[in-house]
Subunit: 450 residues, 2 copies
């Protein structure tokens, strides 16, 4: 501790147990977590280097954190660790409209960056539902997705270069500031989604796009999840490129209505939201409407304008939070090829019935990325057991359907055992080999991912 | 050799020295190359596994090859190696319009895949100038770019998953078939651009897009490279998203005219080609035209239709080949932030004057990715020396301007020394560490990249 204190201003070091305890967990609060020995909130790259140098010398594990909105326990503290919160390194260092890049510190909040860019006609697409809280550093650590990915792709597509403090405190640069670049192995993409286990990202060069038109949204009601999924397939097969294609099931709709009086149609079994942000949005939405009706939609309602559209998107963004009001929740993140989405949705309904628990589903349907939310009473051990059982069955079903256990939330501690099942022993061995190259002493977020 | 023969059909094993000699080099023919002991042209994954198992047991280096259109010597044979040509593994295994993916073997030619996809209204964007010859496996190994990247990005953005034979013959799968996925480290992106040094790609899951409209092109003539680069900056700053933004200098224009009687305006100093593939292409081209005139264009000529547009693109695609008719060539591949493009172009002109050689420049201007082509007489040792000197000076200038030594052609043997300069010792050490994890015996394309 003394060594740590030497190189840091006093306000960067939090040791009051009441305060450090508040840094124990991310949003996956029922995953195992420990008590940090200390929390460091640096403001400079040099301070991060000092922390890593000291931790390396003392062989103390370091758990990096952003806004702790993660859903897999990747940012959970372990007993005696140093929590390294990057939240105060939150400057936007550069916005360059000609090169369409931004250079940011890791603690910048996603929505803050988006609003700052919008003022200059620019756009950083990845938009997790937690965008008002989550940080770019956390997004990079997790490889976050969001609602716009069906058109714009995920975080990995937007990180051009990084500055990273290694486990031993050395600072490296990866990647580039240019549109193209293939000089050596792509370390930048290796850091994206590595959940803080390979190094501490202290600076990122992000690729930007011109700001699109405000999205126009259409809502379509379906008598079943399967019919809504059929519509998704028809839309994607037709060659349309919606900027958003989202699904909420009946449980989710009810929860959102109860929480925010959104007036969503609560008798419908599945609500599909489609959006376009192109000049021809109205025409494209009309095509989507026709495809939805052909797939069995009972009602198709285009939003009148951007404001009404934004309200529908707001309802969708509230889904996870609204489902959390129903009880303790386990939030899954299975992604399947979109043609298998109907099978997944039906399968989840079957699992819910068998275990006798409510499982609400909202989904980035255009990506085949679902968030089944298992609702249970944490004080009832039998319910908790059945919740975990159903949570695992959903991942097994996702793998069976050719999918992945995590589309955008990451592995953390929640899905460690399942990672081995998805990757197999050979790939896991290679990943562990890479971890050893970057962090031979296993100090960076140990016990996560693998 | 006997061990190799046992597991392979006889037609898969080429041993005639006249034939094996034709597999010595890729298109960077003046880079060092050796004589392969044998060339294997497998048709199945099992045959590739057999080759790697045998090579591992005998500690014989293996050099993977596609169409050998590479420009950095990455596919050059070394003395006594096994050349593993993936050219006959050329099947398109699956095209899935709902999930917008294709599954292909590595030997599929880029243009063949593109045409097959176009029949189903689908599009695989990366389009290197060599697209009529180059293979998808080679594109993945190099991390290829092309002409469309300014809108659609590079190969790394389109590879979702891989099957890879490791150095010891084991077969692994990486990545996914889904739109999203963050299960463990991104090994897929690590293989992209690794130049055959980490494993043999035997199957790839590629992300597709809906086929866009045929591009409409505008040609703008400029009195200087700097004015053309200024136009590029104005276009990108304005928020326009051209599907192509290419530059040809006076030398390149002359060479293309001489070779193909294209009738390009050969008195102009720099020709800028801009294209759009959206429904509003004509309007967008008109905006580009205005921005070009504001930047000093002397003439702005929109193509009348898709056919005339295609002819202009054809002229651009011929640039490298045309410049090669002027003498022996060294083709550089420096990519800079696009705002620095003018400085690079001016700098190259200065270098050409100082060394007394012709250096033609064509560029993916929208990406800041230039291909200065140094023309010299290989029989004149002094010219050869000056050519290499200027080639190196161009890379030094690129790094000075915040760019990279290779935007899309890779490192191979041509730029090994320069890689160390770009990455620095720490990053190089990490990259070598990764290489050791995948290929502890250093059998996969040894002596390349590092």
């Amino acid at each position: 501790m003394a060594g740590l204190r030497e190189g840091l201003p006093s306000e960067a070091l939090l040791t009051d147990p009441d305060i450090t305890a508040s840094y124990r967990t991310d949003m996956a609060s029922f995953c195992p977590a420990g008590d940090p020995a200390v929390v460091v909130v640096p403001r400079t790259v040099e301070q991060v280097q000092h922390v890593m140098r000291t931790a390396s010398a003392l062989r103390v594990p370091v758990v990096p954190q952003g806004a702790r909105t993660g859903l897999s326990g990747a940012a959970n503290a372990t007993d005696g660790c140093v929590v390294l919160s990057l939240a105060r390194m939150d400057r936007v260092l550069e916005i360059d409209p000609v090169n369409r890049i931004a250079v940011v510190e890791p603690g910048v909040v996603n929505a803050t960056l988006s609003r700052t860019l919008a003022e200059q006609g620019l756009y950083y697409p990845p938009d997790p539902s937690s965008w008002e809280q989550c940080t770019i550093g956390g997004n990079i650590g997790t490889g976050s997705g969001g609602l716009c990915c069906v058109k714009y792709g995920v975080t990995a597509e937007y990180v051009l270069g990084l500055e990273v403090v290694l486990a031993d405190g050395r600072l490296i640069s990866t990647g580039r500031r240019t549109a193209k670049g293939v000089a050596g192995y792509d370390l930048t993409r290796l850091f994206v989604g590595s959940e803080g286990s390979l190094g501490i990202v202290v600076r990122a060069v992000l690729a930007l796009r011109p700001k699109p038109n405000p999205a126009l949204v259409l809502a379509a009601e379906f008598p079943s999840g399967a019919a809504a999924c059929d519509a998704v397939c028809r839309i994607m097969e037709s060659g349309l490129v919606p900027s958003l294609l989202e699904l909420m099931d009946n449980t989710t709709i009810g929860a959102v209505n109860a929480m925010a009086q959104m007036g969503l149609p609560d008798s419908t079994q599945a609500l599909l939201l489609a959006a376009f942000d192109t000049p021809d949005a109205r025409d494209r939405l009309a095509e989507v409407g026709r495809l939805c009706l052909a797939a069995g939609a009972t009602e198709v309602v285009p939003a009148d304008d951007a404001a009404e559209s934004e309200m529908l998107l707001q309802a969708r963004r509230l889904s996870l939070v609204a489902l959390e009001t129903l009880g303790t929740t386990m939030i899954d993140d299975v992604c399947v090829p979109r043609a298998r989405l109907g099978e997944l949705i039906d399968g989840v309904a079957g699992i819910a019935e068998r275990v006798g628990l409510t499982i609400g589903v909202c989904a980035h349907a255009g990506d085949g990325n679902t968030h089944p939310v298992v609702v249970f009473d944490a004080d009832d051990p039998d319910q908790a057991r059945r919740a975990r059982e159903s949570f695992d069955e959903i991942m097994a079903l996702g793998l069976e359907l050719g999918g992945t256990i995590t589309g955008e939330h990451g592995v953390g501690v929640l899905k460690k055992e399942w990672l081995a099942r998805e990757l197999g022993p050979e790939v896991l061995e290679l990943q562990r080999g890479i971890k050893r190259v970057f962090d031979p002493l296993n100090l960076l977020n140990p016990g996560k991912v693998f």
